[in-house]
């Protein structure tokens, strides 16, 4: 495992997650610095999304502790973690369907970032602009296509003013041009010093942003380090090509 970065913004230790008899996360240790961009890859069912859910507070871990900005947040719900700056997006978009795009994002600016009315307006418009969604600001979210719903996930999470953003497959199904725009957006977030954890199947997009790559398989981290080295790791190759975990 990697040595813990000096200024770890997030430090998850000994994370287990079981659903009944099914072990989804098996003793995960993960720490990262405030200025890192970490990619997570792994075959389906490796536990990537579950890890994100446990980190964001959507469900509690069965065992283990999570510290954010030096404080133990294991017992805190998603709402509180979001307000501290630990914000996620959802793999299957979860828009507020009956509300407009702008209103979706405004909720996050107003409650997640805790901004007053005018500042929340500004923040919401800013994140819509960054994600290229101003043109659909007044559309009800239920009328948006999948691509816009994915963008909305990102715009909404950004409006909560995260210090660490957990992204769950926001690039799935994009054309090359759209993926290029997404990479530009994520690079802008990096310039704003927002830490990134990004789960993505499309590795070549991920590698344009991630400086560190983690590969998961069967609830464990099987490789962690410099992206090219991780992709060349024999365990990673066997996880993808079959043979299963050791």
């Amino acid at each position: 495992m990697n040595a813990m970065p000096n200024a770890a913004i997030l430090n998850a230790a000994g994370i287990h997650k079981r659903f009944g008899a099914l072990v989804v996360l098996d003793d995960i240790d993960f720490a990262m610095g405030a200025d890192e961009a970490v990619g997570i890859v792994g075959p389906n069912g490796a536990g990537k999304t579950t890890l994100l859910s446990v980190l964001s507070g959507a469900y509690p871990p069965s065992a283990g502790t999570i510290a954010f900005k030096g404080d133990d947040v294991t017992a805190l719900a998603a709402t509180q973690r979001c307000r501290l700056g630990l914000v996620r997006t959802h793999q299957v978009p979860k828009p507020f369907s009956g509300m407009t795009t702008f209103e979706n994002v405004f909720v996050a600016a107003s409650h997640g970032a805790g901004l007053g009315r005018d500042e929340a307006y500004e923040e919401a418009l800013g994140s819509l602009k960054l994600c290229g969604m101003l043109g659909v600001a007044n559309r009800r979210a239920e009328t948006l296509g999948l691509l816009d719903r994915k963008r909305l996930e990102l715009a909404r999470a950004l409006a909560a003013r995260p210090t660490l953003l957990l992204l769950d497959e926001i690039g799935g199904g994009l054309t090359d041009g759209e993926a290029g725009e997404l990479v530009e957006t994520i690079r802008e977030l990096r310039r704003r010093k927002i830490g990134i954890v990004w789960i993505e199947h499309i590795v070549h997009i991920l590698l344009q942003v991630a400086e560190r790559l983690i590969c998961m398989d069967a609830g464990k981290i099987i490789a962690d380090g410099e992206p090219q080295a991780v992709m060349a790791d024999p365990q990673v190759i066997s996880a993808y090509l079959g043979g299963g975990p050791k």
Partner: protein, 351 residues
């Protein structure tokens, strides 16, 4: 320049604001020109509007569909009886009773809000049935025999009638104003977000349980006011009349026909229900069959209700609680990277 301006109202909604104020003023002086029977009917209309607005806030905005709201209607009447019996002025009792109903709804919310969707809806009905039985045990109520708000009889009948009319009108205006303020503010946005996706709302920092509780208690209070006012108009209190599920059925009817999830819809629905009752209420069973058929037709053909359909088709928004973005010209320009470069945060909020 900023990327856009947020608009909260329309030209029509500003006119509607004045219209609402004018209507309430007219209604305030109306008893001078109305017959005694008409004053009583109008009082019933105000109570219906409160009921519809409260159920709509709970279900249409908050996603909390309950078929047990009659519990708060019944308790509003019951506590008023109890307070008046203890010597409190009967008119004062009506409102103190509603405050007690709000207070009682708090502990109920602690366990009921853990339930979701259908479980919550039916669970509330169970709460209503249980509460009905508990109230029957009170010696003062004498089981289903019931009792009356006797202390109201010391007032002259016409003075009593007009006072209750004004109290109902004032309660309706105040509760609608509170509800509108709440739903239009940032809490209202949180309420709608919870309705649409509770997990996502939590993930962007919305306090889900606290916000739902606030709405639940407010709706209980409003429905408690209605129950107490209904007691004042009818004097008699029989538990099975007040704790009957028909009250919630009426609320659902008004909201579905008027337009669920729109502020105007609940008011329109109450008006429609009131007119149907006025014209056909004497038709007995056929009246009830007609109500059921109307609700069925609406849910099949106009699932967004009358106002929801009008709003969609013609863009009418008289009492809007949402947000509209009017984009600055440069912001829609594909190459408009300059649109947000300046730091001038000039926001004009139009109300």
């Amino acid at each position: 320049m900023s990327a856009g301006v947020i608009e909260r109202g329309t030209a029509a909604s500003r006119i509607a604001g004045f219209g609402v104020a004018a209507i309430i003023l007219l209604l305030a002086v109306a008893p001078q020109f109305l017959s005694a029977g008409a004053v009583d009917r109008m009082t019933a209309l105000f109570i219906y509007v409160i009921l519809a607005a409260m159920w709509n806030a709970l279900a249409g905005f908050g996603g909390l569909v309950s078929v047990g709201q009659q519990v708060f209607f019944g308790l509003g009447a019951y506590f008023a009886i109890r307070l008046a019996n203890a010597g409190l002025n009967p008119f004062v009792s009506l409102f103190v009773s509603a405050i007690i109903v709000g207070a009682v709804s708090w502990p109920i919310s602690l366990f009921m809000l853990r339930l979701k969707n259908g479980e919550f809806a039916i669970g509330m009905w169970v709460i209503a049935a249980l509460t009905h039985l508990l109230v029957n045990l009170d010696r003062l109520i004498q089981g289903e025999t019931g009792t009356s708000l006797i202390s109201l009889n010391v007032y002259d009948a016409s003075m009593r009638r007009v006072t209750i009319y004004w109290l109902a009108l004032g309660s309706m205006a105040a509760l609608l104003a509170i509800l509108f303020g709440l739903l239009r503010g940032s809490t209202g946005a949180a309420i709608r977000a919870i309705r649409d996706n509770e997990d996502a709302a939590a993930s962007v920092g919305v306090r889900v349980t606290g916000t739902k509780r606030l709405l639940f208690v407010l709706a209980a209070f409003g429905i408690g006011v209605s129950g107490a006012l209904w007691l004042a108009t009818s004097i008699t209190f029989q538990p099975k009349t007040y704790f009957s599920v028909q009250w919630t059925a009426y609320m659902i009817f008004m909201v579905l026909v008027g337009g669920i999830g729109t502020f105007e819809g609940a008011i329109l629905g109450a008006l429609i229900f009131f007119l149907i009752e006025t014209w056909f209420g004497g038709a007995g069973v056929w009246y009830l069959i007609g109500l059921g058929a109307t609700a069925l037709v609406f849910s099949l053909l106009l699932p967004r209700g009358l106002w929801g359909t009008l709003e969609e088709r013609f863009g009418w928004r008289l009492l809007p609680v949402g947000y509209r973005v009017r984009l600055a010209a440069a912001a829609v320009d594909p190459a408009g990277e300059t649109a947000s470069s300046a730091q001038t945060k000039t926001h004009r909020e139009k109300a």
